[in-house]
Symmetry: C2
Subunit: 459 residues, 2 copies
Amino acid sequence: MGYFDAASAVPLHPVARQALLASLDEGWADPARLYREGRKARMLLDAAREAAAEAVGCRADELAFTSSGTRAVHAGVAGALAGRRRVGRHLIVSAVEHSSVLHSAEVLEADGGTVTQVPVNRAGLVDPAGYAAALRPDTALACLQSANHEVGTVQPVGEVAELCRAAGVPLLVDAAQSLAWGPVEGDWSLLAASAHKWGGPSGVGLLVVRKGVRFAAQGPVDERESGRAPGFEDIPAIVAAAASLRAVRAQAAQEAVRLRELTERIRARVPQTVADVEVVGDPERRLPGIVTFSCLYVDGEALLHELDREGFSVSSGSSCTSSTLTPSHVLKAMGVLSEGNVRVSLPAGVAEEDVERFLAVLPGAVSGVREKLGAPTAPAVQAGPRELLVDSLGKRCPIPVIELAKAFGGVPVGGTVRVLSDDEAARLDIPAWCEMRGQEYVGEEPADNGTAYVVRRTR
Amino acid sequence: MGYFDAASAVPLHPVARQALLASLDEGWADPARLYREGRKARMLLDAAREAAAEAVGCRADELAFTSSGTRAVHAGVAGALAGRRRVGRHLIVSAVEHSSVLHSAEVLEADGGTVTQVPVNRAGLVDPAGYAAALRPDTALACLQSANHEVGTVQPVGEVAELCRAAGVPLLVDAAQSLAWGPVEGDWSLLAASAHKWGGPSGVGLLVVRKGVRFAAQGPVDERESGRAPGFEDIPAIVAAAASLRAVRAQAAQEAVRLRELTERIRARVPQTVADVEVVGDPERRLPGIVTFSCLYVDGEALLHELDREGFSVSSGSSCTSSTLTPSHVLKAMGVLSEGNVRVSLPAGVAEEDVERFLAVLPGAVSGVREKLGAPTAPAVQAGPRELLVDSLGKRCPIPVIELAKAFGGVPVGGTVRVLSDDEAARLDIPAWCEMRGQEYVGEEPADNGTAYVVRRTR
C-alpha cells in the first residue's frame, strides 16, 4: 500500500478497532444518567479521559473530548479569547497555522479584534523573537502549532510558551501533528489535537485547558464535557481514540527513528533523481514522517494523478489542487516554490519497499508531466532584444513559469523578461524560479488584467 | 433487559453495527482528497447522504452531517438567524423545546435579540394560534419540535409550517424524537435530528436546510459539509447512521402499533395500581414509545434508584434528578406535577414481558419510597385553626408537598394552609397537588427566605 498522506488521516489502528468494538455494547448510553447503562458509559468515558490526559501530560479534569481537532481549535480559541475579553482583543498566530486556527482568527477580525501573524523563515520555522515582538498589553491569546502539517517543521513551542507566560498571555498549541510522537514541551496553557492523526476514529478531538486559564465557552453550551463541547459524547469512538494514543506512544520512539531515516532518504534522493526540485521544510527540526518538495514546471494535480495511478496517495499545496486556485498559505509564508508540490507523510509502520518503490516511480512521473506541459529542458542561448514580454494571462500554474523559462534564453545577460500573469501562484513561483536559477527577481508591477513580474538575466 | 430510556439514546442497531464495521476499512480517509482512499471515502459519504436524504424527504445537497443533533440545532438556529439578520432578530420557540433550542435562544437574547416562547397546554401541546400571534415583521426564525422528548406529545408542525410560510418566516423543526418513525409532515424550512435516537452511533446529527432558505453559517467554517459543519467527517459513523435509519424505517409502521399498545397499557394501568399518579402528555397525539407520569409524595431520584435496582432504566424530569435542582422546563410549561416524575421511553423491539414486569414492580417501588419519606396515606380529619403555617424552608421536593398534605387535615373546610418553601419544585407541585386533590390553590406570596404558597381547603 502506498498511502503516504498520514498527516491528513491514518487508517484505524488495530488497537483502536478492538477498543471500538469492545465498547459499542457498553458505551452507547448517556453517561450523565444514573442507571446501569449510564454508569457503564460513564466509567468508559472516565477511563478514556484518564488515559488521554496521561498521554498529554495534564489532569483529567483539564481535558474535554470534542468532535474533531478542528472543533477543539475553534472552541479553544473562542473560549480563551472570551475569557480574556477585558484584557483586550488581540490575537497572535503564526503565518503557517492550520486553517482551523486561521479561520478562528478571521472570525475575531470580522468581529473587530486584531490579529498579528508572526512570519516564518524559508524553512517554515517561527522565530520566538517574532512572538516577543508581537506581544502587546491587549494580547488575549497566542497560538502556535507544535509542528507544521504541510512541511513537518517543528516549532519552538517551549520558548514561545515561556515568553507568553512571562507576559501573562496564554498560549494555545495546536498539537494535531505531533501528539502521536510525544507530549508537547513547555508551559503551554491550552492544547488541541485530533484522534484520526494517531489512528483513532474521526470524530474525536481533544481540548485541554490548564487550571487557572481564564476560559469562557462560546455559543450555546450544555453540561457535557465541562461545558466545552456540547452534544452527546461518542464514547466508543473516544475509548478507541484514547486506546490508540497509548498504543502509538508505546512504539513512538522506535518508529520515529525508522521513519526519520526513510524521509531522510527521500530528502536526499529526490534532488538527485529529479531535476529542478526544491525540498522544503526544516532539514533538522522536523517531524519523523513528513517530507515535502516542489518540482519546477510541474502541475501539482497532474503529478498527484500520475502518482495515484502508480498506487501512491500524497497531497499537494499547489494552487491547482486547491478549490480557491491559490497556493497553500504555508508555502506562501515560506516563500518557496509552490508548483509541482508534493507532501509525503508516511504512516507509522510503512514498508521500506513502498518508499523505495515511490522513489523509483517519482522521476518518471515528474518527467511525464513535464513532457505533456512542454517544459523547457535547457535554455536556448541566443542573442535577442534586451527586453522581452511574455503574455501568460489566463494561464494557470505552472504554465507562466514554463513560458518564462522558455523565453529566458532569448534575452542577453543584463536583459529583462516581463511575465504578465493573473495566476496567484506566479507571485510565489517566479521569485522561487529566480532563486533556483540564480537569476535576479526585480519585482512586480500592476498591469492590465494582472501583474507583470520582472526578471533580470544575470548569467 | 429493562432499558426504557430510548428517548435519550438506544443501543446500536445491528444494521448500524454491520455498516460501521464494513466501512471502518474504507471510510477513514479524507473524502476531499482525490486519491484512491479519498475517493472511496467520498463514495461512502455520498451514498449515506443519499440514503439519509431519502428518509428525510429532501435533496441530498440540502443535508449536512453534523457531529450531534445538538450541534445540528445550534448550527441551524445560528445560521438561519444570521441569514435573515436584515429582517430582524426575533425568534419564536415553543416553551417545551429541547435544551439545545432554548440554549440557542439564550445566546440570541444575550446578544440583543428577542425571543417569544409560545406556551403549551396541560398536555404539552402547542396551539398553532400561539405561533400566529407570535409572528412579527422582524421575526427571523421560528422553531418547533416534531414531538416532545419528555412527554411524547406530537406537535402540529404542518399547521405551524403553513402559518410561517405565509408570513415568509422559516420554520426549523427539531425532529430528534420522531425521525425514526417517519418523515416530518408539512412545508418546513430547516430540520435537525440525531442518529443515536434511531440506533445509529452517537456523534452523528443531521442538519437539513431547504434550497432557497437564507442561511449564513456562523463561527469559523471550513469547506466540509457545505460549510455547515466544520471538522473531518466521521464517515463510518455516518454510514452506520444512514443504514440504521433505513432499517428502523422499514419496521416503523408495524413497531409503532406494537409500542403504542404497550404505552397505552402503561397509561391505563399505572393509575389503577399506584395511588396519586398523574399521567402527563397528550393521550392521543403522542409518539408510540413514550409515556410519562408523576407520583405524588415521591422523590424522583429515589424512585429511579429503586427501579434501577429492579433492573429498569428510566429518566425523570423531577428537580432532584437535575443538576440545577429545578424541575424540567417541559413539566413546568405544562403546569403538571413534577415530583416522582418518570419517563418511560420504550426502545423498538422491547419485550412485552419486560413492560409487564415493570408494571408489576412499579407499585412496590413507589410505595417503598413513600414509606421512607413518611408520606401521608389518608388525610386526618380533625378540627383545628383556620390558618396553618407549614415551614418547609430548606427542604427539597417532595417534602414540602408531603408536609402540606400531612398538615392539611388540621384545618377545617374553608381554612388555609401556607407552605413556606425555597424549593423551586414547590411552585409547580403545590398547585398540581391542589388540582389532583380538588383543593383551591390561592396563589403565592414572597416570604422571608422563600415563597409562601397558599392553599384553601374546599372539601
